[in-house]
């Protein structure tokens, strides 16, 4: 889970970028799904959740060329506006009940 903070006016561009993603992650071993959540009280608060079969698959993806290429194509201006206001970095969780 990554929590991003971005100016509310830039949120649609960020959401569009996720919707138009290359999809390089989708075929990666162990990938389950990816969702982007937007706070209903604060349009500039965006959470990205990706789910994986296990931690090893996730770590393999984070080290992969596919992950690097996904990030390389983010519009530099958008990327800067996210980086500047980032509140929290990546957090990882185990699903312990459902």
């Amino acid at each position: 889970m990554s929590r991003l903070r971005i100016e509310a006016g830039s949120a649609p561009a960020l959401i569009d970028a996720f919707r138009g993603r290359l999809g390089l992650v989708d075929g990666f071993d162990g990938f389950l799904d990816l969702e982007v959540w937007q706070s209903d009280r604060d349009a500039g608060e965006i959470i990205m959740v990706s789910r994986w079969r296990d931690r090893e698959c996730f770590k393999a993806y984070m080290r992969s060329d596919a992950h690097r290429r996904s990030h390389d194509r983010i519009d530099p201006e958008l990327d800067r506006s996210i980086d500047l206001e980032r509140l929290e970095h990546l957090h990882t969780y185990e699903v312990v009940a459902d």
Copy 2:
């Protein structure tokens, strides 16, 4: 999404409580799923995520007798240990991309 903080030693009891839940929510109109996440770096950080067809369904559940009954059966000691250390209350998000 609710983020709970609990003493690490009490986390298994909290997780068990979720696993043994009455399931009153499962049949509620608009309910999709419920997951409990535990941080891999901090066993006392627990996130509960429930997903709903739309906000109205969620609000109807939160006002319902089923929701009250689910909470009433939480062990009082466990409930107190959560309340005392709660960091954040409920946050709601729209799924804007997947």
